[in-house]
Amino acid sequence: MTNESLILAALLVPLAGAGLIAAAGRFPNLREGVTLLTAGLLLACVVSLLPSVLAGGRPAAVLLEVLPGLAIAFRVEPLGMLFALVASGLWIVNSLYSIGYMRANEEANQTRFYVCFALALAATMGIALAGNMFTLFAFYELLTLVTYPLVTHSGSEEARRGGRTYLGVLMGTSIMFLLPALIITWSVAGTTDFTVGGILADKLDAISLGGLLALYVFGIGKAALMPFHRWLPAAMVAPTPVSALLHAVAVVKAGVFTVVKVIVYVFGVKALADAGGAAWLVGIAGFTIVAGSLVALNASNLKRMLAYSTVSQLSYIVMSAALLAPLSIVGAVLHIVAHAVGKITLFFAAGAIYTASGKTEVGELDGIGRRMPWTMGAFAIGALSMIGLPPAAGFVSKWYMLSGAMAGSQVFAVAVITLSTLLNAGYFLPIVYRAFFRGPAGDDAAHGEAPRLMVLALAATATATVLLFFAADLPIALARQLVEGR
């Protein structure tokens, strides 16, 4: 298959899958089989694009022209390639986990769940492979809409309210800030194509450039930069498989991916640096990192803690990208991958704990490591990745981020990274310790490990987290290509 058809396949496969899943709704095993087959096929398509990208090629496809000069077009570059790989790879694992979770908890509306999941992946592929900001924006909005039924899955009053916050913040930021940023870019630059070196060089003065960057960054609400982060904890009302993929991988990663893409391909790293840099963004992201960790420290609900940990970790990526230094950007890109595998492991573990024992609070987890060794083992690895300790993937990305910050003598950034590392240790390590080295509370009902399918999934992602520590060649190669401006 040509590269062009592979790109279109990457979009059509999950779309067609959604249709087939809906059709197979009455037959759960068939339906689940379709999901897994679709996910596998998608990964195959995405992986097939990899060789050309690694060789320096930039496969492209144009779908149709919507307005004069504005087309739905795709172009695969290193960053998008990496995001697409992460999302499609983790979809398979997440589907296995979802099957285990949804069946063990006897959830309702499972067909709707799997259909929306497939649609969400289609939208994610559209974002990852977008060739211009117009296309990215269209799929970005689509992702928000398609994940709304997933977030509000349970249909309860709480879900409805959570859904309102989710939609309100995400649509609010994208309509009020991102859309005008897009239209301004179009009107100033005459194009919205992602170009190496940016499209705004010499088109705007420094202050306007900074203002436009602010519109973009705050408009990309999915990156959960404070104060537009509230949707993330609100979305924890969703079933854990949703939280796992969407809020550890697809939705939030779409956010930070877009931020990095905008900085590199719309503004251009050099153009931004020449215009005085983005020090204010470093500051806000730094604040988000620390504030997010502080809230996580105080959280009693496990998923809420993980949500705020995500808010904090996402801003690592934003801050490092905003430093505009090569090493930092490599670190940011690597962290997109590292955080994805690490966080999905943690959410898998949280869901496994809930399914096996009904527990949701951090304080209830004493001694649970004895009963659920696999789950808590994976949790420990995920925690190590968040903190940034070997042998977890988070260590590699943090190394690059710290090196980049130190090389640029960015005292503030170094301080923030250091402080938040300590805070992360402060809220993750006690959980791991108490799970393994403390006895359970007296009135604790006996339970075993989580269902096999769920354990399989979390073991897979935990393994991936460790694997990436030892063999991060692929992500590093793609990140290098991005930074070298090819």
């Binding site: 919507v66 004069p68 924006f137 039924p149 249909g155 005008p180 239209i183 009107s187």
Partner: protein, 495 residues
């Protein structure tokens, strides 16, 4: 080829003749057949005219071969033909829908009258869009308005009569103001032919009667177009009329009124007269913003979906007028394209709501609870149209919004951009009231949630229109092509 030469005249004559034929035939099946044939013929004629004008420029036709400016001239340019396609297209889809919908809403012995009035209304609206004579516009305006009053009054709710009466009073005032304006123009220029009038206005520029004429025209048509705060008639008219009537009028009546304003402002007066002499720009901006925010705000608190979407129409008309106030090609493109995009969106919504009323017993938020399960296709279609009202990419509404924001940016009005987008957020709020009612609650009546969509005869045209809302958000060659060509003709170009 002689029939083709007379296309402009046939555009109006065909539906106009269908009306008395429907009355004479009395039998509702035959009346329906005649009017349906007439409306589909009108659509074919409109498309042919559009193609002809797109290819070879403005078409001029002298009624009865009396040469203009003494005779009445029919003149089809880019804007006019675009309006013709819109109006006839909506009619062609709504009419098959109406046959099924009025069975529950209108007494059987009045069906043939419904079709006759529909044909008259269609003829009137088409006439406005194609005529090049000022008084002729008034005549067709009255034809379309009077038949609209009757159509609204045919609603099953008793309040339909009151709504119709309210519309009649306000509409007549509007038409009267309009004819006073035309009279003053005739007084000063000595002609009723629009092209000739434009030419002669150059000599009487800025005189008091001309400015007064402009004022009377504006106020008169603003009543027809439901520009805030002259919109009072609209919510009741759309809420209590038969659903097919709401669908048709929401998509066409106010849009044709906007057409009249555009025609007079840009083709007759010329933008310099209108915007320089009178504070038209700030006034239109303020009224448009008032409509956008006040109407959206009121919509959020409505409990009946038809009233909710009626207020939404007032807000969307605010967008349309805002685009006009920019007095630029981009702004006018935004206005013209939104006439089309909003037209198809609202037609779809009201057709879908007609099906909802039939199956769920009504259109209040309490009655549509759990609709997501019982009528999944209808619910999804309403959501998609709602997304078009919000302006989500992939829908027609997004296209209009894009141009509107672009026009505001071109004028350096950053604060207007913020306000336009803020009102989109209000739209999210009122659309989501439907989403939450339909998907988050259980059906209030029977326990079974077996899907029972509206009748296929009602559902198919509605879904077709909803699909069009998505289609024209992706393929804009027809809509933007026509709108930008029309705007280019109107601003800074020869007529």
């Amino acid at each position: 080829m002689s029939a083709l030469e007379h296309l402009p005249a046939l555009q109006v004559v065909v539906p106009l003749l269908a009306a008395p034929l429907a009355v004479l035939l009395r039998q509702r099946g035959l009346a329906f057949a005649i009017v349906l044939a007439a409306s589909w013929a009108a659509l074919a004629i409109a498309i042919l005219l559009w193609l002809r004008v797109a290819e070879s420029g403005t078409v001029s036709y002298a009624i009865g071969s009396w040469p203009p400016p003494w005779g009445i001239e029919y003149r089809a340019d880019r804007l006019g033909t675009f309006m013709l396609v819109l109006v006839s297209g909506i009619a062609a889809v709504v009419l098959p829908y109406s046959r099924a919908s009025i069975e529950a809403e209108v007494p059987e012995h009045q069906h043939y009258l419904f079709y006759a009035m529909f044909a008259l209304c269609l003829a009137g609206l088409l006439g406005i869009a194609i005529t090049g004579d000022a008084f002729n516009i008034f005549v067709f305006l009255e034809i379309s308005s009077l038949s609209a009053y009757v159509l609204i009054a045919l609603g099953s709710d008793r309040r339909a009569l009151v709504a119709s009466y309210q519309y009649l009073v306000m509409g007549t005032i509007g038409a009267t103001f309009f004819v006073i304006g035309v009279g003053l123009l005739y007084l000063m220029t000595g002609t009723l032919n629009l092209a000739d009038m434009a030419h002669r206005l150059a000599q009487v520029r800025g005189t008091r009667p001309i400015l007064v004429a402009l004022a009377f025209l504006t106020v008169g048509i603003s009543l027809k177009l439901a520009l805030f705060p002259l919109h009072q008639w609209l919510p009741n008219a759309y809420a209590y009329s038969p659903s097919a009537v709401a669908a048709f009028l929401a998509a066409t009546a106010t849009k044709v009124a906007v057409y009249i304003i555009i025609r007079f402002y840009f083709s007759v007066f010329g933008e310099s007269q209108v915007f320089d002499r009178l504070p038209m720009q700030p006034m239109l901006v303020i009224l448009a913003l008032g409509g956008m925010f006040a109407a959206s705000g009121v919509a959020i608190f409505q409990t009946d979906l038809r009233r909710l979407f009626a207020y939404s129409s007032v807000a969307q008309i605010g967008y349309i007028i805002l685009g006009l106030s920019f007095n630029s090609r981009t702004g006018l493109t935004a206005t013209i394209v939104h006439l089309f995009n909003h037209g198809i969106t609202k037609a779809a919504i009201f057709m879908l709501l007609g099906g909802v009323a039939a199956r769920m017993g009504g259109t209040t938020l309490a009655q549509v609870r759990g609709m997501g399960r019982r009528m999944p296709m209808t619910s999804l279609a309403i959501v998609v149209c709602g997304l078009s009202l919000i302006g989500v990419p992939g829908t027609a509404g997004f296209i209009s919004k894009w141009y509107l924001v672009l026009a505001a940016l071109e004028k350096g009005q950053g604060w207007l951009v913020a306000l336009i987008l803020l009102s989109s957020l209000l739209a999210v709020m009122y659309v989501w009231r439907f989403v939450e009612a339909a998907y988050f609650h259980e059906t209030s009546s029977d326990a079974t949630a077996t899907p029972s969509e509206a009748r296929w005869a009602m559902l198919a045209p509605a879904l077709l229109m909803a699909a069009a809302t998505v289609y024209f958000g992706i393929d804009t060659s027809f809509t933007i092509g026509s709108s930008s060509a029309a705007a280019a003709q109107l601003i800074g170009g020869p007529r």
